[in-house]
């Protein structure tokens, strides 16, 4: 490294992402549970106790547990991670450093995407090997894309939580949001089994919309039109992204 290079946003983000991933791998206490939780669910309810009648359950649950699995790293690494780092003063250090603040967000998003990709591939492999899941090639890519990039709105939500909740309260808040929201969005139990009112309520919840896109991707019937879900998730990303920025600069002040 003889030559001196100007700091580049891309370079910083990339390096940051790689290091974050490395640190995750080196602390499996955090990464393993969020990886194994959806996998365990999927194996239990999708492959071992296949109670599905009418629909091919392993395919159906690939979409719903896939959604459940990919939003966890986004919510936790942002929601809990940012809050804890903020409490530790790491965020203040980053703010003081010449590294652009956006790089911090990008690298954390990168980690979430990588995590989501790992969850998605793991579930897909299990489904294909043991659940007889067969999708057309395009649907495999589409499903993967939906699950991986579908985490971005949840990164925005997680960031906002991390910026606004105290470090030790964050895990509780995220869990209180993540688990009920997943249940009410029909990620554990198909929403059709819910009472009418709860089915309507689900339309207000973000995981419902990501799951709808995932169902569409694997070729299952959906309730919400794709444009509704895409609009919902885009607006959500924008709203929480902007709100988080404002919190960030408030923190700064």
């Amino acid at each position: 490294m003889s030559e001196i290079r100007m700091p580049s946003m891309t370079r910083i983000s990339l390096t940051d992402t790689r290091l974050e991933i490395l640190s995750l791998i080196r602390q499996p206490g955090y990464s393993l549970p969020s990886l194994l939780f959806p996998v365990m669910f999927y194996v239990f309810f999708g492959l071992v106790f296949n109670m599905g009648r009418g629909v091919h359950m392993p395919t159906y649950l690939l979409a719903s547990y896939g959604t459940f699995g990919v939003i966890a790293p986004a919510l936790f690494s942002f929601g809990v991670g940012v809050a804890v780092e903020r409490a530790q003063g790491w965020l203040r250090l980053r703010q003081a450093s010449p590294a652009p603040p956006l790089a911090y967000v990008i690298s954390k998003t990168g980690v979430s995407l990588a995590f989501a990709a790992a969850v998605a591939l793991l579930l897909m492999t299990l489904g294909a090997l043991f659940g007889d899941v067969r999708l057309e090639r395009l649907r495999w890519f589409w499903t993967f894309g939906v699950l991986v990039f579908g985490t971005i709105p949840f990164c925005a939500l997680g960031l906002w939580i991390g910026m606004n909740v105290k470090g030790n309260a964050a895990p509780a808040v995220v869990n209180l949001l993540y688990l009920p929201m997943s249940l009410l969005s029909g990620l554990w139990i198909p929403i059709q089994f819910f009472p009418e009112l709860m089915q309507k309520l689900a339309w207000a919840l973000p995981p419902f919309h990501l799951a709808q896109l995932a169902f569409g991707a694997v070729g299952m019937p959906v309730q919400a039109p794709a444009w509704v879900s895409v609009s919902y998730l885009s607006v959500m990303t924008l709203v929480f992204g902007v709100a988080s920025m404002r919190s960030f600069y408030r923190e700064d002040a």
Partner: protein
């Protein structure tokens, strides 16, 4: 930076490689998926289903099936998918199976037909090949008394007199290929005439013999008393509802919890009262001229209360939980293969069955009770005999006849409509034969042929030749009418079409005129109509000297499909000689 890019690139490549390795569904361009469809599976309605058809079978029924790549996708929104209809009471011959399929009847349960027909038509039901014909199950030859109901159709019917012979008799029917046994309890009383019928001892013995061989025994009845006998003897079902009286509590009690069903055949009973029960319009392109003729024929007798009593009985039996199966008795007068099935469904609603019950009566129930193998329901592994119909039959039952797509053995079939391009040629008035040429020649049409009851199992014989000289030619017929068939005949037949039994349109003809002489007595002129098994018969008397005879065609309900005219001796047994000359057709006035 290089390290970072390596990680990124490696990660992306790894994901792509993994996704490329994920398994894809097997490709099957012959598969069909019917999507977004209201499904009637044979028992109940299910909203928004997908049905996958592969290799002649239904392979998946689900909210979302996993279809192979390349499958044809059919949008079923606004439509209903029902199993192919099963007509549980027909007499199948001629074009029965193709006539029925055009109206969505994919299986016929025949209650008596000629064995020759059975042998030729039945094996196809094992196949999953594309076909324009429905599947056939059959009673084969019915079990009746000598001279009783069922012996009048021109087919030789074996009968027996003593109950001890029942075992061998049933064995012989099964050896012939009967899928089940049909008995006739018919003393004619419901029709105001007397008929020889099976006595109670033979009814009991036949049913016992059938059950000993694990086949069903079903019974034709027309009276409540007949039904009581059938139930008492352990029959598995009635193939008509009686119509002399309304069902009594004693019969329902006697049936009790037994496996027992009733095929009311309301479509035929409606005809007794002159009721027209056909939701199928006569303009329907699927109707062949023979089917129209069949629908327009009427029973000679009238029995106005029959339908009311029959409906009331069906209502009570249904309320008592006794399975009701849909059957038409086609092609008896007033009914037609396939078409009358939709009339029967409508009539069953009048007896209080709801839409799902009516459709089950025409699908899952007959398949279960007879049993017909993997038919009558839409479920994984069942034969793909399916109707995609327009609309929701729960709102309008006539939707059953609006068939958008028809699947037989998993193949989408678009049956060619009858009459398209094959309208019968018009038969012109004028001379047919003056017998002045060499041989027995006709000036048009296929010409003259011998005809005897041998085609129906009889043993009569005939010989004929050109006779007479120089301007005085005629045809001489030596007929030997022998016993052996219920209605023996022997004589000559003239085929007006280009081929034997090819129909011609005789609507421009008013009468047949000819000269005849011979052994004095009563002779018959039989008119054969396309699609009707029984010819229409007129009689005439011959004396020793030449006489001119004219016979009107007024008795022919439909002259559009005349296939033959036969001058015959019989049914009196014996040897007779008669001569015919100057056969000509007179125009209708």
């Amino acid at each position: 930076m290089k390290k970072d890019l390596g990680w990124l690139g490696g990660g992306i490549l790894f994901c792509i490689a993994a996704l490329m390795l994920m398994p894809t569904p097997q490709s099957d361009p012959d598969a069909t998926v019917i999507e977004n469809v209201l499904l009637f599976d044979g028992t109940r309605f299910l909203e928004d289903r997908q049905v996958l058809i592969q290799g002649g079978l239904v392979t998946q029924v689900a909210g979302a099936v996993r279809a192979p790549a390349g499958a044809r996708r059919v949008d079923g929104s606004g439509k209903t998918l029902i199993p192919g209809l099963i007509d549980a009471h027909t007499h199948s011959w001629g074009d029965a199976l193709s006539d029925a399929l055009r109206f969505g009847v994919t299986t016929q349960i025949d209650m008596f037909t000629a064995l020759q027909y059975l042998d030729q038509a039945r094996p196809a039901r094992e196949s999953l090949e594309a076909t324009e014909r429905s599947d056939l199950f059959s009673a084969g030859t019915l079990v009746t008394a000598a001279g009783g109901h069922g012996t009048q159709f021109g087919i030789a019917i074996p009968t027996f007199e003593n109950a001890e012979e029942a075992d061998a008799f049933v064995e012989a029917r099964l050896a012939e290929g009967s899928d089940f046994i049909k008995l006739v309890i018919e003393d004619g009383s419901a029709y105001g005439r007397g008929l020889p019928t099976l006595d109670a001892a033979r009814v009991h013995a036949v049913i016992k013999a059938a059950h000993a061989r694990d086949v069903l025994a079903v019974v034709h009845v027309s009276t409540l008393a007949g039904a009581h006998l059938a139930v008492e003897a352990g029959a598995d079902g009635l193939v008509h509802i009686f119509h002399d009286k309304v069902v009594d509590d004693a019969l329902i009690k006697a049936i009790g919890d037994r496996d027992f069903f009733v095929i009311p055949t309301l479509a035929i009973i409606a005809g007794f009262g002159g009721t027209d029960a056909h939701p199928i319009s006569r303009d329907d392109e699927r109707l062949s001229p023979a089917q129209i003729a069949s629908l327009e024929r009427r029973f000679p007798m009238e029995n106005k209360g029959a339908l009311t009593r029959a409906l009331e009985s069906v209502r009570k039996l249904h309320e008592a939980g006794i399975p009701i199966l849909a059957g038409t008795d086609a092609p008896n007068p007033g009914t037609a293969y396939g078409a009358s099935m939709h009339a029967e469904l409508e009539l069953l609603t009048r007896a209080g069955l709801d839409t799902a019950e009516v459709l089950a009566a025409a699908t899952a129930l007959p398949a279960e009770h007879f049993p017909l193998g993997k038919r009558g329901r839409i479920a994984e592994g069942m034969r793909a005999d399916l109707l995609l119909i327009d609309g929701d039959p729960r709102k309008d039952l006539t939707a059953t006849a609006s068939i958008v797509e028809l699947y037989k053995n998993g193949h989408r079939i678009e049956p060619s409509n009858p009459g398209s391009g094959e309208a019968a040629t018009a038969l012109a008035a004028g001379s047919i034969s003056d017998f002045e040429q060499e041989g027995v020649e006709a000036s048009r049409g296929f010409g003259w042929q011998p005809t005897t009851d041998e085609i129906a199992g009889g043993t009569s014989t005939v010989a004929f030749e050109k006779a007479g000289e120089g301007g005085n030619g005629f045809v001489r017929i030596d007929a030997e009418v022998k016993a052996g068939f219920a209605f023996p005949w022997s004589g000559v037949i003239y085929f007006p079409g280009a081929a034997p039994m090819a129909p011609v349109d005789a609507s421009g003809i008013g009468a047949v005129r000819f000269r005849a002489r011979g052994d004095a007595g009563r002779y018959r002129l039989m008119f054969f109509i396309d699609g009707q098994m029984m010819p229409i018969t007129e009689t005439f008397d011959i004396e020793e000297t030449w006489r001119e005879i004219s016979i009107s065609l007024d008795a022919l309900s439909s002259r559009e499909r005349l296939t033959g005219m036969a001058w015959v001796a019989g049914p009196g047994v014996g040897e007779v000689r008669f001569d015919l000359d100057d056969v000509a057709l007179e125009p209708a006035r």
